[in-house]
């Protein structure tokens, strides 16, 4: 026993005691989503109103005392209906809370113990009023393991993390386990990297462990760049200590004494919370030298990215920490053998590291009970796009797309935001590196291997749902545009190839393509996939190849018939005026920038297809819905 451990136990004991004495706890979500919607004002309002109402308000829990404990939490997940406020111990979830609602919450719930119905979530299909997470399908169907503390604790209070068994895994790793044992545990757990490819974490660690070097590094990859993914942000903002703990364990396992948390610069709040968490961990002696009285030393600092998607790639990230342009370098040598400053380095993703302490404390068995044989455990996903419920979720690996779309996400919505039965067209998984899943994959278990076979990848877990009005060629173009602008420019296939692919896709969308275009596009896509230097380039063609595979007829329609089935590609739309509906008001003719619309007053107008530049102004102008962008 040493003072750190004593300290840990004391914090845990005190905190539990104090916690029991409070009457209510108000957790205001302070994740990025809710903050955008003004949750800080709600938080401040709670403190102000509770104080005014005569109740005792506790901002920092440090005594045994009665009162209302108000704290900020990390992302509670259901961003769309934020700001979210959870009231404990009743576990009530209030949604879309505005500062002006706070008074009512205090009066009704905190004082009288009654529910404030107008702020409860109403399940849209059954119109069921839900009291809290236990009743809301969005939460009910999830398996919150890594995210269990996220949204439930104050991420800026290290004591609360400790009180919920935090840093116990690090304690065990540092005092009871040998590095071999830690690596073996992780290997046995079957944990695979959550950042993209799904490489076995234990194997990576073991490679670094056996290297003989006076210096080794552990890096947390928080450069979550996939557009449409924010799981790692959620963890960094909502439970930063779990990442630090995971890194302490990792450092012990490979014998590293220094680490970096590389956070994407677009996540200022995550940077702030990680920095605070590291500072607090240092103060309690959880970072630094002789952690838990062992001979293990580990120093940790935050490095803020500067805006380059490619830095999510290990070797580029290392270059960036070294103060260079974030350009990947060939592997081998792998970072586990020669990484930062040429020293053995392991780079793990945020979610992977956050899972580590749970495997150590809760055991391999429990972890393997979730997920599938080859992809055990859970995975967080960020669901966005045309679905009813968007937000941050966690599911066991092997879950089906059907379960996510209908169970958690509440179904597909149309462009108007209402549920659209049979509206599902595709799910884009894994961002610009991933691919599309279609209705034929509805019952495919989502895990690392099955997705690879389907031409997609788990990637970091961004899941964008698309309804039937989506043009898949445009989707492919969007991702191509993304990777093209994020290519580092080092290797030829990626730099030149993505540019040419984008130009070919532009031709298709603009109706300039010939049948040869598709052939060249496919040839090129394969060359870029096989020939590129790093993961960014190798996976850049995935969105194109996967849409070509599952929606080839849509490409062909664009190419052969100059027709966009979804009606989204403006250059292919033929604008016509329905003479039945046109009242001859001349409004459209006045607005048309090229004078393509002609007609006498009060008689149906016509559009000259040669003059029309397809700007769409006429459609927006027409009050009678007489103008249509239609198939030729």
């Amino acid at each position: 026993m040493n003072w750190t451990l004593l300290g840990l136990n004391k914090i845990k004991k005190d905190f539990s005691l104090w916690e029991k004495s409070v009457n209510h706890r108000v957790l205001v979500c302070a994740g990025t989503g809710c903050l955008v919607n003004g949750s800080m004002k709600v938080y401040e309002e709670f403190i102000r109103i509770i104080e005014k109402s005569g109740l005792h308000v506790i901002v920092e829990l440090k005594n045994e005392e009665e009162g209302v404990w108000v704290s900020k939490s990390g992302c509670q997940g259901f961003c769309q209906i934020g700001p979210l406020v959870t009231i404990l111990p009743e576990n009530i979830l209030y949604t879309k809370v505005k500062p002006e609602d706070v008074f009512d919450i205090v009066e009704t719930t905190l004082k009288k113990g009654e529910l404030l119905h107008r702020l409860l979530y109403i399940e849209p299909h059954m119109q069921k009023i839900c009291k809290g997470t236990e009743d809301i399908p969005f939460y009910q169907r999830q398996c919150r393991f890594v995210l269990s503390k996220c949204g439930a604790i104050d991420p800026e209070d290290i004591r609360e993390y400790i009180a919920r068994n935090g840093y116990l895994g690090a304690l065990r790793a540092c005092t009871e386990m040998t590095p071999e044992e830690i690596c073996k545990t992780i290997t046995d757990s079957g944990l695979r990297g959550r950042g993209g490819g799904g490489f076995p974490t234990g194997k990576k660690w073991d490679t670094a462990r056996v290297q003989v070097s006076e210096k080794k590094y552990v890096i947390c990859n928080g450069d979550e760049g996939d557009p449409g993914a924010f799981m790692d942000m959620g963890v960094m903002e909502g439970n930063p200590h779990s990442i630090i703990e995971g890194m302490i364990i990792a450092s012990r396992a490979i014998g590293a004494d220094e680490g970096y948390v590389y956070v994407r610069a677009e996540y200022p709040l995550a940077v702030k919370r990680m920095r605070k968490a590291i500072k607090d961990a240092y103060e309690l002696g959880l970072l630094g030298s002789k952690i838990f009285g062992s001979d293990h030393t580990f120093h940790l600092q935050v490095m803020e990215g500067a805006g380059a998607f490619v830095c999510g790639e290990e070797t580029a990230l290392i270059a960036s920490i070294e103060g260079k342009r974030g350009m990947p370098s060939p592997k081998p040598p792998f970072p586990a053998i020669s990484g930062l400053w040429g020293k053995p380095t392991i780079i793990n993703n945020v979610e992977t590291l956050s899972t580590i302490p749970l495997i150590i404390t809760e055991g391999v068995e429990k972890f393997r009970q979730m997920g599938t044989e080859n992809s055990p455990g859970t995975k967080t996903f960020a669901i966005t796009g045309h679905v009813l419920n968007t937000g941050l979720i966690e599911m066991p690996l092997g879950v089906t797309l059907r379960e996510i779309v209908y169970g958690v996400a509440g179904g597909i919505t149309g462009d108007d935001g209402h549920v659209m039965s049979d509206g599902f067209k595709a799910a884009q998984i894994g961002g610009p590196s991933g691919g599309c899943l279609t209705i034929e994959h509805f019952d495919l278990p989502i895990d690392f291997d099955s997705l690879k076979k389907a031409g997609a990848m788990v990637g970091s877990g961004g899941l964008v749902m698309m309804n039937k009005n989506t043009c898949m060629v445009s989707v492919a173009r969007f991702f191509m545009q993304f990777t093209q602008s994020e290519s580092c420019g080092k290797c030829v296939p990626c730099r030149e190839g993505t540019k040419q692919m984008l130009s070919l896709l532009d031709d298709i969308i603009e109706g300039k393509a010939t049948e040869e275009t598709l052939e060249i596009l496919e040839d090129l896509a394969q060359a870029v996939q096989k020939g590129s230097l790093c993961g960014l380039g190798k996976t850049a063609p995935n969105p194109v190849l996967s849409t070509l595979r599952y929606f080839r007829e849509e490409y062909e329609a664009h190419v052969k018939h100059k027709y966009c089935p979804a009606g989204k590609c403006r250059a292919l739309i033929k604008f016509t005026i329905d003479s039945e509906l046109c009242k001859g008001c001349t409004l459209c003719a006045n607005k048309c920038p090229t004078g393509a619309i002609t007609g006498e007053k009060k008689t149906p107008h016509r559009i000259d297809p040669f003059l029309c530049i397809k700007c769409g102004v006429c459609i927006q102008t027409c009050k009678f819905k007489a103008i249509k962008g239609d198939k030729p």
């Binding site: 990025t32 989503g33 903050l35 955008v36 919607n37 961003c79 769309q80 934020g82 979550e224 760049g225 996939d226 557009p227 449409g228 993914a229 924010f230 942000m233 610069a265 677009e266 996540y267 200022p268 490095m303 803020e304 990215g305 500067a306 805006g307 380059a308 998607f309 960036s320 920490i321 070294e322 103060g323 260079k324 342009r325 974030g326 350009m327 960020a382 966005t384 796009g385 045309h386 968007t390 937000g391 941050l392 884009q428 961002g431 961004g462 964008v464 698309m466 989506t470 989707v475 969007f478 991702f479 993304f482 994020e486 580092c488």
Partner: protein
């Protein structure tokens, strides 16, 4: 006076980072926080004091999208064009703002240096798509109308400010 204060701050930043070439990115970040862009002479100075070639510093400064070598407007608007925002028509928002401010691709800053409008890959506010950020503040669930309102409010606020300062 301002230039002097800033330059002293640059000296401080370089010192705080131990004149380590590996700290180039944090140094540039701190310098940009001070100047709101990276002036050429400051970059040359940084290169000299870190003992790396100016070409290298220029290479790093132009590689990362958050670094800018041109001064930005007082209000730096970044419209998110991540996947979630994109499928919810974020480009419409972007174009609306561009049009409102008389900007186009290739010209992203207004003459009066009040606004700079750009797209950004993902703000992580996907649940609230489409979103944009103006300086530090994030706006979610936008519509073209709402975006126009926000811009108009700023213009109005700036106009009154100017009047105030004239009055004073």
């Amino acid at each position: 006076m301002e230039t002097l204060r800033k330059f002293e701050r640059v000296l401080e930043i370089v010192e705080q980072n131990g004149r380590q070439p590996s700290r180039l990115i944090p140094i540039l970040q701190a310098v940009q926080a001070e100047y709101r862009y990276l002036p050429e002479e400051v970059l040359t100075f940084i290169a000299t004091s870190l003992g790396v070639s100016p070409a290298k510093v220029f290479g790093v400064a132009t590689f990362y999208s958050l670094f800018t070598l041109k001064p930005k407007g007082k209000y730096h608007i970044r419209v998110c064009n991540g996947t979630a925002c994109h499928v919810k028509s974020s480009m419409e928002i972007f174009k609306t703002i561009q049009k409102k401010l008389n900007l186009r691709d290739g010209k992203d800053t207004t003459e009066d240096m009040l606004f700079t409008v750009e797209t950004v890959n993902c703000l992580g506010a996907c649940g609230l798509a489409p979103a944009m950020v103006i300086n530090e503040e994030v706006y979610g669930q936008l519509t073209p109308e709402r975006a126009t309102e926000i811009i108009e409010d700023i213009i109005q606020k700036e106009a009154t400010h100017e009047l105030d300062s004239f009055g004073a």
